[in-house]
Every structure is written in C-alpha cells, then in structure tokens.
C-alpha cells in the first residue's frame, strides 16, 4: 500500500488539471500509514554513497564526483514500533551524475 501511495504521488505532477483534492487524499493515506507505524521516505535528489544500506542502487555511469539519486523506483520504508525503527523495505533507486 505504501508503495502504491508513493507511486500515485510521483505521477500526480504529470497529470495536468488534476483536482487539488487528489493530493489531499494522498496526504490522508500517508497519515494513515504513519499512524500504522510506517515511515515512507523519498530519497529523490539526495546524495548517494556506498554507506547507504537503506538504498538498493543501480549506478548508471562511470563518471566521477558525488553520486545522486536520479530516480526512485521504490521508496524507503521503515517500520516503527515502540519508538524503534527498523528498515522494512530498501529504496530501489537509480544513482548517477546529474
């Protein structure tokens, strides 16, 4: 469910003339997920390093310099129980140079 909500949100900007209520519905779904103890993170645009075990990266080119998350196929999901987080789903991303 968290993945579907993420995908919906990702597609929303591309839909021209989408009613504003859609974003509200998505926000509400995200709130429900948060209350159920799921933290969904979108690493889009963040720096990528080899220490990020929260991400499963496909690295696109052999260039030099800091790698960046260029696309997010699946978001990172942590589950939270009694204040302690644990990684539930690694984010699937494409990393490369901008």
């Amino acid at each position: 469910m968290a993945n579907l909500v993420f995908e919906l949100e990702k597609k929303l900007p591309a839909i021209q003339g989408a009613p504003t209520g859609v974003q509200r519905n998505i926000d509400r779904m995200k709130t429900v997920l948060e209350e159920a103890g799921l933290m969904v993170l979108n690493p889009m645009g963040e720096a990528y390093t080899e220490t990020r075990t929260d991400l499963e990266a496909n690295i696109t080119d052999a260039g030099k310099g800091t790698l960046q998350v260029l696309d997010v196929i699946k978001p990172v999901i942590y589950s939270s129980k009694e204040g302690t987080q644990s990684l539930l789903q690694k984010g699937v991303v494409i990393a490369g140079h901008k």
């Binding site: 591309a14 926000d27 993170l41 690295i59 080119d61 196929i73 942590y78």
Partner: protein, 851 residues
Amino acid sequence: MTINFAIDLGTTNSLIARAKNGNIEIFKNPSGMKVTLPSVVAFRKDRILIGDKAKEYIEKEPSNVFASFKRKMGTNESFFVASNGSFKTPVELSTMILQELRNFIFTGETPESVIITIPASFDTIQSNATKEAGYAAGFREVLLLQEPIAASLAFANKEGSDAGKWLVYDLGGGTFDVALVKIDEDEMKVVDHEGDNFFGGVDFDHLLITELFVPYLENKYNIQDLSGKMLSAGGKYNKLYYQLLYKAEEAKITLSNHSNAEVEFDMEDESGVSHEVFFTIERAQFNALIRERILSSITFIRSLLVRNNLTASDITEIVLVGGSTYIPLVRGLLTEELQIPVNTSIDPTTAVVEGAAYYAGSRVSRLEQSGRGSGGQGMGGQGSGVQGSVGQSADGRAGGGQAASLIEVKTAYQHHSREQEEYFAASIKHAPAGAQYRITRADGGFDSGVKQVTERISEMLLLLPNTQNVFYLKIYDGQGLPLPVAIPEITIIQGKFSIHGQPLPNDICLEVDDVENNTTHLEVIFERNAILPIRKSITKTLSRTIVKGSEDQLLINVLEGSRYSSPQSNLPIGIVSIAGKDLAADLIKGCDIDLSFEISESRDITVTAYISMIDAEFSQVFNPSVRAVNLVRMQEEADYLYRVGKRQLDNLLTKERYEESAVLQQAMDELKVLQRKIRSLKEDDVTDIKYQLDDQKRKLAQVVAAAERGDRMLELKEEYFYKKMSYESLLQQSGDDAMKKRLEAISMDENEWINQCSSQFLRLKISEMDRLIWNIRKKDLGYVTNLYLHYAMKPDNAYSDVRQIKALKSRGDEALQRKNADEILSVIYRMYDLLIDKDDDEMIKGTGLRG
C-alpha cells in the same frame, strides 16, 4: 554438543542457518533483513563493502569488485585490487563472505564449528581451499557437505525418503548444476553431476528486455537502436536500462504466480517528451522466450543419465534448488520431457542451507568431544556482559580478549543534529596491527563497510529524520574477528528533538463533542513538551448537520492547557468558525472534515479545514500575541457554566454545605454579570474587552469545576472505579484478552489524571469503558431484556410520540418471547430516540466535530 551452524557459500548468494531443537532458523542480514547475502566483495577507496552494496558497484568499478570467485577456489589465481594495488585470493574473498555471514547471527552466539556446503564438482584442492576460508573466518572446526546432498537432506527430512535415486536440479541467478544422488546402504551420495557456469535467472531477465521490452518501446516511440543507446556509456537511455532490468526481474517473479504481469514505468522519447509506459506480458510470451534455454539444461540431464546407464524411470524424483526453479515452465518442462515427478516441497532458495543445518544439528562437534568449549558464549557478543570500562575483555580465543583489553576508544560527535548527516570522530589507541572497524546504524539503513583502524578515525553518519539514531562501532582484529571492546552506543537525535527547537509548555487540544453525554471534551493534538515546529493532520466527522444559510456554526476550537481540564477553563488560541450563512450547501452530519494543525517555531498556529463534501477549504493563521475569541462561543460557554454551576449550587444548599456554596454563589453572581456583558458586546468590537471577559470566564470555569470536583467528581470517580472493577471481572470471565487490553488502555496513566481531570474527561473515560463492555453485553439476552424492561416501564408520555412508543412496546414484547437479543436491541434504540428527558440539563451546544 552438536555443530548446529551451517553456511551455504554460494557462487551468487550465501546464507547462514542454525539448527535448534530440530527446527531450522535462517539468519537475516541486519541491514535489509534478507536471508541472502550476495557473494560479492568491493574494495572502495578506504573501505570494504560486502554483499548488496558491493554488488551495486560491479558495473561501475569492475576492477575493484569481485564476484563468482567461488569458481576460482583452489586455483593460484589472484585478483588485483586496483583501488589499493593489493592482490586478493579467492580464499581471502570467501573468508570475508563467511565473516559477514557471522554478523547475521543476532543471538550473540559465536560458533566455533560450522558446516559449509560445496558444489558436487569441487575436487580435494577446492574443498581444502573452502576449509581454509572457514578457518580464516574464525571457525576452529569446518566440515564440508556437498550442495546436492544438503538439498536432498532438506527434502528427505520433510518427505521421509529413505531409498532410491533422484536428481537435484539447481538453477540459480547465474549458475546451473544438476546432480544424481542416491541412497545406498543408508549412505547418501552424489553419483555424478553436470553443470553450466554461465546460465541462470539473469539470462531470463535479459531475454525479456531484448526480446520484448526493447522492440515494444522502439516501435511505439519510434526509437532506433534502443539497446545500443541504453548500453553505451553516458548514453541517453542509461537510466532506462537499469529501470528495465528491475522491471524485468519483477515481471519474471510475478509470472511465476500469475498468468500475466503488468509492466509500468515512465520514460522520455527521443524528443524529450515524457511517457507513462504501461503494457502487459502474458506468461505464454515469457515461456516462449526461455523455452530453448531450459530445454538445453534438460539435455545436460539426459547426457548425465546416459552416462550412468540410467533411464528416466530409474529416477524417483527431481528436487528443485535455486530461485529460478520457481518458474512454472522449468517445473513443467522437466516433468513433460523427462516424465519424472518434480518435488516442490522445499523452498528452492534456502534448501541447501536448511539441509546443511539439519546435518549440523546431528553432527557432534569434535571440539566438544576433546573437552573444549564450543564457544556458544563469550567473545563480546550481545549479552556477554561486556559493559563498563572501555577495553574490558570478556574472554575469548587466544589473543582476542587480551588485545581488546588494551584498546582505548574515545568518541566525539554532536548528540543532536539538524543535518541529514553528522560528523563522527574517534581516537583508537593500542589496537592490534591490521585491526579494522565498522559502524552500523541500528535500524539497518547505514553501514560504513569494513575500514582500517588508524589512531584517528572519522565518518559521516547518515541520519534518519526526526528520530533518535543509534549507531554501533565495532572493532575487529586483522583476521576480521570481532574484538570484545565495549564501546557505548553512538546516539544522535535528528531534527525535531533538536535542542534548538522550543518545547510546548502545555498540551494543545481540540474541543470536540461528546454526543452521548451532551457535552464537549478535549482531544489532544500536540502533547506538552513536543518540539516546535510541529504539524499534524486528523480527520473528524460532523456530529450534526449545519444547514446552509442558518445561524449555526461549525467550530474548530484550539485550546492550550491540560488535556484533562474542561474546554471552558483552557486558553483559546485559535478558533475557526464555519457559519451556515457562509455555506454554499448544507453540511450533512457524518461527513468527513480533514483538519491540519501547524505550529511554527514562533508559535503561529495555522488551522486548515477541508470539507471534501463541498470541496471547500478554510484556513486561518493565529498569532500568539493576538488571542482568538469567538463571541458566540463565549456566550454559549458562559450559559453552560451557569447551568452547571446552578445545579451544583442547589445541590450544595440541599446538603447544607453553606461554606462551599458561598464561594460558588459569588461565582454565579459574577457569571450573571459576565453573561450580560458578553451579550452587550458587538461582534466587531475592537477593544480588549472580549479578552478580559474570556479571562474572567476561564477563572469562573475553574471555580465551577472546583465545586464540582469536590462533589460531582466524587460521584464520578466512584462510578469510574466501580465500573472499571466490575468490567475487569466481567472480562476475566469472558477470557477475551483483546478486550482486556483495550480496557487497560482506557485506564492507562490513571494516576496522572485521576485527581486533576475535569468531569467531562472522567465522563469520557466512563463512556469509553461503557462502549467497550456494551459489545459484550449486547449479546447477553438477560442484560438486553432488563434494559428493555427499564424503558418499557416508563410511562408513554415520557416519550415524544405516544402512538409510536405503543407500537414499539408491543413489538418489544413479542421479541422478548422470541428471545431474540438483536431484535430487542433494535426496539431499545428506537425507544431511546423517542425519550424526551435524556438528562440534558447540562447540555452545551457542541462544536459540530464528533469526538
């Protein structure tokens, strides 16, 4: 003592498991929680990565990343590591994988004996090389077991097979093996084997891309040579290639369980226009692509049988191993072509390690036999008691404990951070030569990889937002074995808990209706001490219909003060009123309203209400220096307080408690004046008077509440405790644990609120308990009958419609005879609706938001 631990040291993936009391537990990678560890090692600039992270760099830095080194075991071949100019042997790389697998053991055990599986094709030199890797990884006893035997053990333990010949068909991600196994005189052995080191599931993914995805995209978006463009360095479609690889694998897995798979992704065409691509792949299409490859694997089996003078009828079954054997066509073709039944009773991914663990669970350790400890404890694992001063040893193998006792570690870092990553530094003194360290985050989202210890180390620690991040720093000796050095956890609080943020001095609450008790109560939005800025969204339903054009209003009343007090005695800090006259349509009872509350660091409060039914948003920002007072609401509250106070005053006078009544009497006089003043105030008054009146109202509310507390509260408390006790015993009898837990949750933190809460709050708690118990009682015919009789005994004129109540009573009497609890209940509900006097004396007009 049995060996218990087993490792499947695979070409593509490795696993570790343990046998305990006949059950097998497969350990998961603490980072990512997968049971499989890719058998890949990467040497980055200053750190070593093992497993998933290493695999990511295979294509980017092939000269520093090593995979499939199992195939080179026992050869003189060494791998040149370009990043540091060193050479690594296959044994050394395998050692790293084995050590990494040891880290999966979350129980803190440090096994000294292990079973490691090897392919049937391994000769003595290759087998010895595997043993060598095992010893180097810190095991003192290493026993080898052939993979097909291990898989056979896994299925034999499930199926109880004890004789015959069978085939173990192992098709993994990148390799294929088939082995002929037989049991002869109670001994299970591999008779012959065959394999292809360059055939596996990855080939199927590539076939999907080249034969289906690419032609579809080329055709649909008019792209020439998409394959070439995807694979050329720095090409426009590089990103698409990786996206397709992922989608192909996903589709392949889906097609193992479904007849078709939907593929969905975004891409840009040659002219830069973005498209949402969506198409379906049928299993038949996928089968057509991979058929030839699978048939060629069957050719291997045929030649194996011919070589051993066997026919298919000599084979009892085929045992499947490896993730690619989930594919239905693999299973189907094997049965169809060879006419041999396929056994699918074991999990192909874990079969080898499971079987090896069964074996480990039955093999007695030689170390134990020779009188030495098997090392279940010690060596600084969790629970080994290595707390206290840094560097203390908790025993262990030769050298480890002693070396560790000398190590001094001092750490330095910010305990609070508002950054996404935080700088960490430590000084490590007296570490043995070649010592290594590793920092991991407790939730599995960060791993520094293995790094060389120097006197000063540093690392940028990646932080999870708005939470407490816990990291562990561990030190290993030159062989990669953990040194029992007690280093305190590294704890960094990110974001909202930052010391820079201001805590809220009081609870921030929303006033909502308590429909059953005809009153309102407070619902906490933000708890006291929460750190600003803060935001929260909630959804409420309307408790009554607000008619378009009417004077009625829906109130979103945000108050500051204890959540246990009454709404009237808390400070109003933001109120949004949505009046009937401002509405374009009626707001129907039961419709949803999304509320979001946001408090900035400067304590500005933004309240936003969105009503989906009429697609309208109402938003208002309240400044802390400007109080929010709604005159209509203040008037309703003053009237309500007067009614409650009057009732209480009469009560006190009847009981001749003159001293207390004098205080209340004075408050009532003041309330009368206050009511007059509020009524005379104009809605658009710009003076401070309304704030002064609100202050007075709150003070008087406290006097009324105090008068109630001494008397009414006593009754309510008695009712609360009595009901709690009787409900507890009722639930005890019913044995419903879930309900018991819910009752406990209602009375949670009771000591904190019982002596300071308002009557509304206590009534709310009682109602919550009543509602909970009602779910049990409404099924109890005796209880329902008594309840009906209670209402039926009331005279007809106590109800608003005499004709209807007569009809209901006659229906109720009939339902009583039928002993139908549900039917009696429905009559009771209707009767209650018609009841005129529902103890509405203390009623206050609600906010319109259901609590």
